[in-house]
């Protein structure tokens, strides 16, 4: 069952290229033939001479990045992009969400739909669509939102997972908060789930865990795609003897159990430079203990975890308002994915603790666990936790606050109005997100 990926904008395309690279390498290196075949089939089309072509479409409003991306893939010698799988224009979107959404989107809707259709037709069965984009720019965010809407209309029964890159707090783009607010508020209406990677978090991981001195976007993308790969590579989801055939669908049903809660974050352990990896030994109890505390204390990585934060004690009969513990991150749903040696022996009971979750959902529907005995991307043992929890509440609140402050002075609004987004549209978007913030706060 295949996944088609749509890469949008500079970020989406740069991350996408790294993503297929990781998938290809991981599948190729796997000793388990079934894993390798399943991985290949899911993300690539295999040609007559066993050459791999990614099931992907590249979209950008200016040509430089796409050219680079396609060239880089071809250079690897192991996989490539399809010959006519891309669409680009010349002018770019100028970091203007309105330009991406109201101008480029509708203008190029048919061409993009065509490209997607052609790629989907080459899948035996389509299991889901993955989009990759950033929130801060114009094409990924604006056009990406429009295209997601189109995809939803084209494939109403297919799961669509939006992977978004959350910009650095201290600005890459001045109007990034506007663009992010507009994107998130619109995506919320028709996306199945929004999986977030924050540049600041990934940057810290590169600096403190991977020990990289001069961090480039390449390094950042490698971490992001390591995380993504650990979720989407073949895995056993139920106690069946086959690799799951519907990874994205099952992903959605595990994590998004209520339409008001769609924001997903991800934690992965262990992470380190490849040189250190050679000398490290891990055991499941240690890894899982850290991961659990990372969830509870909302730590984004395994360094600097606050061990004083505890889950509140709650008895099942006490279904009133949940007690609020300082710093505690409450979850709606969690998905734990274990890969590597001795997975069967891993003790995951700690994640089934009802204290971690909201009281109005039974624990059985709140927690799921997947596993694969095949080591992933060079790590003998690795664990990923995808959460639908309050962990993005802080960043979201901060972003909306900054955008609102800027909106109060009406700065830059004329740039959006030029392309058809009015003050009313802004207000609507703010309202949607304040609602999301309120929902998550009250967990």
């Amino acid at each position: 069952m295949s996944v088609v990926t749509v890469q949008l904008g500079q970020c989406g395309n740069q991350v996408g290229q790294e993503f297929f690279s990781v998938l290809c390498n991981d599948s190729n290196n796997a000793k388990d033939k079934l894993y390798k075949d399943c991985g290949h089939e899911r993300f690539f089309r295999e040609g007559p001479s066993q050459d791999l072509t990614a099931r992907a479409i590249l979209i950008d409003m200016e040509p430089k990045v796409i050219c680079q991306t396609i060239a880089k893939a071809a250079k690897s010698g192991k996989w490539r992009y399809g010959d006519n799988a891309h669409f680009c224009q010349k002018r770019g979107s100028g970091n203007n969400w309105a330009n991406g959404f109201s101008v480029h989107g509708p203008k190029h809707k048919e061409v993009v739909q065509d490209l997607v259709r052609k790629e989907v037709e080459q899948c035996d069965r389509l299991s889901g669509i993955l989009t990759m984009m950033s929130l801060a720019g114009g094409t990924g965010s604006g056009m990406g939102t429009y295209i997601t809407q189109c995809l939803r209309d084209m494939y109403p029964h297919t799961s669509i997972l939006n992977h978004v890159t959350w910009p650095y707090n201290t600005g890459e783009v001045i109007v990034q908060n506007y663009n992010s607010v507009l994107t998130l508020s619109h995506l919320y209406q028709f996306s199945d789930a929004i999986l977030v990677h924050e540049n600041d978090t990934v940057h810290k991981i590169c600096a403190q865990l991977m020990n990289i001195k001069h961090i480039s976007f390449n390094d950042v993308n490698k971490v992001i795609t390591h995380h993504l790969g650990s979720v989407l590579q073949p895995v056993y989801t139920a106690s069946s003897s086959r690799y799951s055939r519907n990874p994205i669908g099952e992903f959605m049903s595990s994590l998004v159990n209520h339409p008001e809660y769609k924001l997903l974050s991800l934690q992965n352990i262990p992470q380190m430079s490849s040189t250190s990896l050679a000398y490290s030994v891990f055991n499941w109890p240690g890894l899982l203990k850290h991961l659990r505390q990372m969830l509870i204390a909302n730590a984004r990585m395994e360094e600097g975890i606050d061990w004083t934060v505890r889950a509140p004690s709650v008895s099942r009969s006490d279904r009133g308002r949940p007690t609020r513990e300082l710093g505690f991150n409450r979850s709606l749903a969690n998905l734990l994915i274990l890969r590597g040696k001795d997975v069967a022996s891993a003790e995951i009971g700690g994640f089934k603790d009802p204290a971690l979750y909201v009281p109005w959902l039974p624990v059985e529907s709140a927690f799921s666990s997947w596993s694969s005995a095949v080591p992933f991307n060079g790590y003998e043992k690795s664990a990923t936790l995808v959460s639908n929890s309050q962990s993005l509440l802080g960043p979201l609140n901060s972003m909306v606050g900054k955008a609102w402050n800027m909106f109060a002075s009406r700065a830059y609004i004329h740039q959006y109005m030029k392309f058809g987004i009015s003050e009313e549209d802004f207000l609507d978007s703010f309202t949607v997100l304040e609602q999301v913030i309120s929902s998550y706060s009250q967990l």
Binding site: N95, N96, T170, I174, N405, A411, H414, Q442
Partner: protein
């Protein structure tokens, strides 16, 4: 990939333009070793087969370079400067049809440049610009280069600006304006400047103001450094931002050093649009991010480094020094101190082997020292282009939308008022057909309200602005 057209008007505009084309050729020759006419080249040059009788439309990218022609229109109302260009080593780069000249000049009179020559040459100018535009696949931007103090650059230049807006409303207009210094020898330069300012405020998408005095100061600073030549700190001659070395033109003329700085500014601002990088910054992103309100589009440029030392060991300290320098008042291209005024927005365009972590580290380091307006506390727009300028391993262009332009404009208004109060030289302007007293008063009030807008923002500096109350949702 988009194309840009340079429109150079007047003596200053054409002299700066000339340096720009020379250095652009040098930059592309440095990067483009195979002689292929690539996308980067096509942003400023056409590839023409001069053997063909129609002047050739051999514009296929990917083919070998035949003859490069600049995407430019050269306008001057006296022939001296343009003739020099046509006889100089850059003559191959321009088609005779791209030049629009007259004989007698504008006599440092904005009204003559704007109204007299404007109406006379309007059709010709539109025709030439249209031809240049037709040669473009996707025209994104006009770069207008002119000075404010004279008659042609200032008067006819701003007429052309208006014309570009009318005929090509979708294409961005980025204007590089050279402002006169207080000791300028043209007596009427304040009149010319204020009359031109109004047009810039109303018709330009963004303006890069440059002051002659700042350019002089930078040139002197570099000359001083290269002459004092302390052991171990010898400057690489072709690496300075004022150097013409490696370009087509051989002999250095006066003003060349100053003009090279402005030429480098234009090369750096377009570098990310032409060359690849991990975080591209196109021209439309500049106008989007740096212009929060339509009239406040004056962006103070600063270039670093001014030179590269011959010492090859360049520690990270030098990189950080480059960022610090970008905010020092010695590197600004107008005489202003942005650090002590209020930032509305700031763009950092980095070229060369610099990674995102270096960028972030420096932003975090410098941020607390720079006052930003309350609603844009993290107002940074950043770009990373992998290709450094000739002679450097890395370079930084900072563009600041900062209230420090207010004193510059106020001073200009002062000089204007001194003359206007006495009605000095007014009759030279008013006797030109199309010119009225109202033009003066309107221009003055336009400038005053611009200064007032900046003042109001300035007043918020340092004041602790409360956050706007958020929307409350019914739960």
């Amino acid at each position: 990939m988009t194309q840009s057209i340079v429109v150079q008007v007047g003596q200053c505009g054409n002299q700066v333009g000339c340096r720009f084309w020379d250095l652009a050729l040098r930059e592309h020759a440095h990067v483009n070793k195979k002689g292929i006419y690539d996308e980067a080249l096509s942003s400023f040059f056409r590839n023409v087969d001069t053997r063909r009788s129609d002047g050739g439309a051999a514009q296929i990218t990917g083919g070998k370079i035949s003859t490069l022609k600049a995407r430019a229109v050269l306008v001057d109302m006296e022939e001296g400067v343009v003739n020099e260009i046509l006889q100089g080593p850059l003559r191959e780069v321009f088609d005779s049809t791209q030049l629009i000249t007259d004989v007698s000049g504008s006599g440092n009179n904005w009204a003559v440049g704007h109204w007299t020559y404007g109406s006379t040459y309007r059709e010709q100018i539109v025709e030439q610009v249209r031809r240049a535009a037709e040669h473009c696949d996707c025209l994104q931007c006009f770069f207008l280069i002119h000075s404010m103090g004279g008659g042609t650059g200032s008067g006819l230049g701003t007429y052309v600006l208006k014309l570009l807006e009318e005929e090509f409303p979708e294409v961005y207009r980025i204007v590089t304006s050279v402002y006169p210094s207080a000791e300028d020898d043209v007596i009427t330069s304040p009149y010319n400047s204020i009359l031109a300012m109004r047009e810039l405020t109303e018709h330009a998408d963004c303006v890069l103001p440059v002051e002659n005095q700042s350019l002089v100061d930078i040139v002197n600073k570099i000359r001083h450094m290269s002459q004092s030549g302390k052991g171990g700190s010898v400057i690489k001659k072709d690496s300075t931002v004022i150097s013409s070395k490696g370009g087509v033109s051989g002999v250095e003329k006066p003003f060349d050093a100053m003009n090279n700085i402005v030429a480098n500014l234009l090369l750096n601002i377009t570098s990310s649009a032409r060359f690849e990088g991990s975080l591209n910054m196109d021209m439309n992103e500049i106008t989007m991010n740096l212009v929060p309100f339509p009239r406040l589009h004056y962006l103070v440029p600063s270039l670093t480094p001014l030179y590269t030392l011959a010492d090859v060991n360049i520690p990270t300290r030098r990189l950080d020094q480059m960022f610090s320098d970008a905010f020092s008042k010695d590197h600004q291209l107008i005489r202003a101190d942005p650090k002590h005024s209020l930032y509305l927005a700031c763009a950092l365009m980095v070229r060369g082997n610099v990674q995102v972590s270096d960028l972030r580290r420096n932003i975090e380091r410098l941020r607390p020292t720079l006052p930003f307006v309350s609603w844009n506390q993290e107002g940074w727009k950043t770009g990373l282009c992998s290709v450094p300028p000739v002679g450097h391993t890395h370079a930084l262009l900072a563009l600041a939308n900062n209230t420090c332009v207010r004193p510059t404009f106020s001073e200009l208004r002062e000089r204007f008022s001194k003359l206007y109060r006495k009605k000095a030289h007014l009759h030279h302007y008013l006797q030109v057909e199309g010119m009225e007293q109202a033009c003066f008063s309107e221009a003055l009030s336009s400038l005053s309200s611009l200064i007032e807008e900046y003042s109001q923002l300035d007043a918020t500096k340092g004041a602790c602005m409360p956050d706007a109350p958020r929307l409350s949702i019914a739960t």
